[in-house]
């Protein structure tokens, strides 16, 4: 039973309906097989792109959907509830366009954004390196200015859509500090390693990208030299909300499967949902899922009003992904031995939930962000629409 939602207007409701149609008719039938065979569903992203779902949170004048984060995130959640890899992909794509949108010049935006948001292209972002994960400021990838271009050399680890994307938002160290570049996939010297062999999210390609003297025009620098880390971290505030939405989608799917199973399965002559010991587990799963959703929606509403939302985004990411881990694990418990097999999807949800606690800032890092913000003070403001 999918989540009950209250949406701000009729178009948003139609958008969610369209999303559900695409999910049940196009995504669901493929998801299990693609995950089992570790196949990246490039065509599925094109389908979502044609439906307009790859540019939702950007303004219409740049080719986006002009949709609020409150609505966009619920689309991501619905997608993730049938296929987490695709939900993550939609969020990562949005994040990859973020630097250009927020820090690009008007000329840069007009040149590249409509294409990036148009649905045919897929984006990726390269921040992490093998030795620089939680601490991206330790990155070593270099961008050396040479006339009117930069030459990028180094390796970026863990790139979601690595080798599949059409463009990469790349953070590299220039003379003026860490800087952000928009690099086309066909740039000479840019190659992808073989994808990582992961525990879950196996339909999503994750690969190290190698920059072997990749030359890009200086017009592909976003903002100024030295702005890169700030651009990356600002993007992550929004990206984390995407991951929170993915996590809630996973939790919702786990609740739905567990409840459906518990209403059918009989032991001791009764449906197992009629045993209090089990039904309270289900009640806790439902409560965790609902409160996680409310948490990311709260952060989204702040963001939509142009208010600071970084702390709330970190809280949402922390709460939602921890909830997803617990709820998916409990769903396996509800299904008993069957839950532990690949014949049911809940073990996959559990494997997929794990990574949401790790990427876009581990949950330890989220606590750090939240604590730092608390140390600074500032809360308790009342805002009117």
């Amino acid at each position: 039973m999918p989540a009950t939602r209250v949406l701000p207007d009729e178009e948003s409701t139609a958008l969610l309906q369209l999303t559900r149609d695409l999910c049940t008719r196009e995504l669901l039938p493929q998801a299990a097989q693609a995950e089992a065979t570790e196949t990246f569903p490039r065509e599925t992203f094109r389908l979502l792109g044609r439906a307009g779902l790859l540019g939702l949170p950007y303004p219409e004048e740049h080719g986006g959907g002009g949709v609020s984060y409150e609505v966009y995130l619920q689309v991501v959640e619905e997608i993730a509830s049938v296929w987490a890899s695709v939900g993550v992909g939609v969020s990562v794509h949005a994040l990859s366009c973020f630097g250009l949108f927020t820090r690009g010049t008007e000329e840069q935006r007009q040149r590249w954004l409509p294409e990036m948001l148009g649905g045919e292209l897929l984006g990726a972002y390269c921040l992490s390196e093998a030795h620089a994960g939680s601490d991206p400021s330790a990155m070593r990838t270099k961008a050396v200015r040479d006339g009117d271009s930069y030459v990028i050399t180094g390796a970026k680890a863990w790139t979601t859509h690595g080798g599949q994307a059409d463009f990469y938002k790349v953070m590299a160290r220039a003379d003026g500090g860490i800087s952000c570049f928009l690099v086309p996939a066909d740039a000479e010297g840019l190659t992808a390693d073989a994808p990582e062999r992961k525990m879950g999210l196996t339909g999503s390609a994750t690969a190290t990208m190698r920059f072997d003297g990749v030359r890009v025009g200086a017009d592909r620098l976003l903002g100024q030299e030295g702005d890169g880390l700030r651009i990356a971290l600002a993007g992550l505030d929004s990206g984390r909300l995407g991951i929170a939405a993915v996590a809630v989608g996973l939790a919702q799917a786990a609740v739905d499967h567990a409840v459906a199973y518990a209403r059918e399965r009989e032991q001791f002559g009764r449906r197992i949902i009629d045993f209090q010991g089990l039904s309270f587990l289900l009640a806790d799963m439902e409560a965790a899922t609902l409160s996680a959703r409310a948490t990311y929606l709260h952060a989204a509403r702040l963001r939509d009003r142009g208010l600071p939302f970084g702390r709330e985004a970190s809280v949402a990411k922390l709460v939602a992904t921890d909830a997803a881990m617990k709820v998916t694990t409990d769903a396996v418990q509800v299904l008993g031995g069957y839950g532990y097999t690949k014949d049911f999807p809940v073990e996959r949800f559990m494997r997929e939930a794990k990574v949401t606690q790790i990427f876009e800032g581990t949950n330890q890092i989220q606590r750090m962000v939240i604590a730092r913000s608390l140390a600074k003070g500032d809360a308790g403001n009342l805002h009117t629409d």
């Binding site: 139609a14 369209l18 149609d21 044609r50 949709v67």
Partner: protein, 266 residues
């Protein structure tokens, strides 16, 4: 060029469907949608529009049905149709095929007042009544040639070539517009609306017409004027469990083959 696509609002086949006390289908109390078979007609209309380079093609989505039937028009507009017409009138409730085709014909004629209609596109059947006769009746009433059950449509000017796949042969039929044409579910998957299409649909014109607007006498349509009556309608009994073949002595495959052969599947 002007194309009218007929779009029917039907009860959702995946939900519980009900009958009213007069044995007509309950259309108000159950969730409904644009008949999936009509989505193929919308798709073909949109493809004809897209292929007509440089030529102005207007696609008008037409529905006859209760208030909620506006949803069928809306879906067609979201997919890409240019405008919509919703004929609604309490007197229409319970109409049989003859009366329905009469109302549709009057509506198509009225659409034609603002520019001749070159093509009336329909689905191969509705997913609720499954009569498949409306396109033929409509063609008769409009005095137009009809081609039914097309799977491929090619147009050059006012000439169309339509492929029809029968059980024993494939026909290619040539026709000169204007015609009434129905298309099958083999004509190509219908597109999803895009979010931009959903936003654009809000601004597209939809006209709502009553029987009086069409000059149709209310006494000629509706349940009382129907030429046939449904005397009883009962839900089918739930499906019983199928036959389970347990292979204990190696005869399982033979049993399966015999079963399939008895049902003429092989």
């Amino acid at each position: 060029m002007k194309i009218v696509v007929l779009v029917k609002y039907v009860p959702d086949a995946t939900a519980d469907r009900q009958f009213e006390s007069d044995h007509t289908v309950d259309r108000a109390g159950v969730p409904g949608l644009l008949s999936e078979l009509d989505e193929y007609a919308v798709e073909q209309a949109l493809q004809l529009k897209e292929k007509a380079e440089g030529e102005d093609v207007e696609v008008v989505a037409l529905t006859v049905g209760p208030e909620a039937a506006a949803e069928a028009v809306k879906k067609a507009l979201q997919m890409g149709a240019d405008s919509g017409v919703h004929v609604t009138d309490e007197a229409i409730a319970g109409s049989d095929y003859l009366a329905t085709s009469q109302v549709l014909a009057a509506a198509v004629r009225k659409v034609g007042e603002s520019g001749a209609v070159d093509l009336v596109l329909c689905g191969m059947a509705s997913t609720d009544a499954s009569g498949s006769v409306v396109p033929a009746m409509l063609a008769e009433r409009l005095d137009l040639p009809q081609v039914t059950l097309g799977s491929v449509i090619e147009r050059q000017g006012d000439q169309v070539r339509i492929k029809r796949d029968g059980d024993t042969s494939t026909e290619v039929i040539g026709a000169t517009l204007p015609i009434v044409l129905s298309v099958t579910d083999q004509s190509g998957e219908a597109r999803y609306p895009s979010f931009k299409g959903i936003m654009a649909a809000k601004k597209k014109p939809v006209e709502t017409w009553s029987l009086a607007d069409l000059g149709v006498d209310a006494g000629e349509v509706g349940l009382d004027a129907a030429w046939s009556k449904v005397e009883a309608a009962e839900a089918r009994p739930p499906r019983t469990q199928g036959e389970i073949v347990t292979d204990e002595d190696g005869s399982g495959a033979t049993a399966l083959v015999d079963f399939l052969a008895s049902k003429k599947f092989i």
